[in-house]
């Protein structure tokens, strides 16, 4: 099994805490590999033929399929199991983080500002769309704090997302940034040398750090709304020897000057915010980019790129994993939104970038059962 890279900020585990987290990963593999595929069998062999017999047509979209499937005991058990698993996953990490929280807070303070920087805004207002529910069912969400200088959300996120994906983003959970750099930017734009880079919605900086390595001359900034994520992310970057300037800012409206960046990126940010906020973020990207600059947003694929049943399975996240904006984003006409934000329609990029670049760097590791069979990152962006 691929292991997470143990950097100095990563919460340590006791024997039983690790065993509990191992169980959660194995259980996820079982649910994804052994239980999830059964939904399609139930749909194809039972639900769909029955519907076709009654209505002389196939179910037309993911909404209709959901209404049919939610009465099926198999789907109910699978859903309940996934939800329960998600809750157990956060619990298995949170109890471990809580035990060592004072030590993690001290460690984060000790990292200092030797390379990059951390700038928090004590008057920062968390947008209402992020406080209605705790995204991904992570208790306290990404901005919640229970003590001074709290880093718990960052520590829980770092370990929890690794377990969630069973390591699919690599030992440093950096595949979205790394694959975008190595499999897209370096391939398609070999002469592009951005002097200033901004990562929006950076969380703990998982995807930010590959840009530091790829463009060593560049000044790399990363923003997020969650203070505990940023404290942890800053300490993590320092511990890993990467120079990043973290600041607490909303990507809808930042304090950077017009035209100050050559590259603005985000990684699975857009589906966590509502449509009006997406438009504002894209407008902000346009304002922040220098002429000739580029924005790139890594996302999961749009519904138009999948069949109705696959879309229905994806849509599970919306109501069952506290992903209120997950489906809204996937139904957007991105060319229209980018155009509304100021970009020229013929400068809009929509592409699928091969993922998993980290696998080529660690060829000796045996493969974990893959969280997802999809081998690409859907990437949306534009040049100015």
């Amino acid at each position: 099994m691929t292991q997470q890279f143990i950097h100095p900020m990563l919460p340590q585990t006791t024997h039983d805490e690790l065993a509990r987290q191992n169980f959660i990963q194995t259980l996820k593999g079982y649910i994804v590999g052994q239980v999830s595929p059964g939904n399609k069998v139930v749909y194809e062999k039972v639900v769909k033929p029955k519907f076709e017999q009654e209505h002389q047509r196939s179910p037309k979209d993911r909404h209709e399929i959901r209404r049919l499937m939610q009465d099926e005991p198999y789907y109910q058990w699978w859903s309940a199991l996934r939800r329960t698993h998600q809750e157990m996953m956060w619990e298995s990490v949170a109890c471990s983080v809580e035990r060592q929280l004072p030590k993690l807070i001290e460690q984060a303070k000790d990292q200092g500002n030797t390379l990059g920087s951390l700038s928090l805004d004590p008057n920062f207002k968390i947008p209402a769309y992020q406080t209605a529910v705790d995204i991904h069912c992570m208790p306290g969400s990404y901005h919640g704090e229970s003590t001074a200088d709290d880093v718990a959300a960052g520590a829980v996120y770092d370990r929890g997302t690794y377990i969630y994906g069973m390591g699919w983003l690599g030992p440093l959970s950096d595949d979205m940034g790394d694959s975008l750099v190595q499999n897209y930017l370096k391939q398609q734009y070999p002469d592009f040398h951005p002097a200033k880079i901004l990562d929006m919605g950076c969380a703990v900086g998982h995807s930010t750090l590959p840009y530091v390595d790829a463009y060593p001359e560049a000044e790399v900034h990363a923003i997020d709304i969650g203070a505990p994520l940023l404290r942890y992310g800053h300490a993590r970057a320092e511990a890993l020897g990467k120079r990043v300037h973290f600041s607490q800012q909303n990507a809808e409206q930042t304090n950077f000057a017009d035209g100050s960046f050559d590259l603005v990126v985000s990684h699975i940010l857009l589906h966590e915010i509502p449509k009006p906020a997406i438009l504002k973020v894209l407008r902000e990207c346009y304002r922040l980019l220098a002429p000739g600059g580029m924005m790139l947003h890594v996302e999961a694929p749009l519904y138009r790129d999948m069949d109705a049943f696959t879309a229905f399975m994806y849509d599970w996240e919306t109501a069952n994993n506290n992903e209120p904006f997950w489906s809204g984003m996937r139904d957007l006409d991105l060319v229209a939104v980018a155009t509304e934000a100021g970009f020229a329609p013929d400068q809009v990029i929509q592409t699928f970038v091969p993922n998993g670049i980290w696998r080529t760097k660690t060829p000796n590791k045996s493969q974990t059962p893959s969280f997802s069979s999809r081998g690409t990152w859907f990437t949306f962006g534009a040049t100015k």
Binding site: D16, A19, Q76, T84, L101, T131, P139, G140
Partner: protein, 96 residues
């Protein structure tokens, strides 16, 4: 630290009590796995230190007294886990 995620938890089964029961059962299944892993650690350390080997564990034959004591342990364990099933009959017997 906050324990519960903000937001309404969906109900999956016709009786919401079954949802709770699944949560309890899954937590127990997880803890059994944790215990099994700890035991595995003990076995491996013991083998590494030459105290006893995995093969010795597999070849172990309990004597009569040990077998009886284990039978007792298993019976008590099963009765404890399935306690709730006995209560209905016990209640009926109390009413008589």
């Amino acid at each position: 630290m906050q324990k519960k995620a903000k937001g309404k938890r969906p109900v999956y089964f016709n009786d919401p009590q079954i949802d709770k029961l699944l949560g309890i059962t899954m937590a127990l299944i997880g803890e059994v796995s944790v215990l099994r892993e700890r035991l595995d650690t003990i076995e491996r350390i013991a083998a590494a230190k030459g105290l006893f080997s995995l093969a010795e564990i597999e070849a172990y034959q309990p004597d009569e007294d040990t077998a009886q004591a284990r039978e007792q342990l298993r019976s008590e364990y099963i009765a404890r886990v399935l306690r709730v099933l006995q209560e209905e009959v016990e209640t009926l017997n109390q009413e008589k």
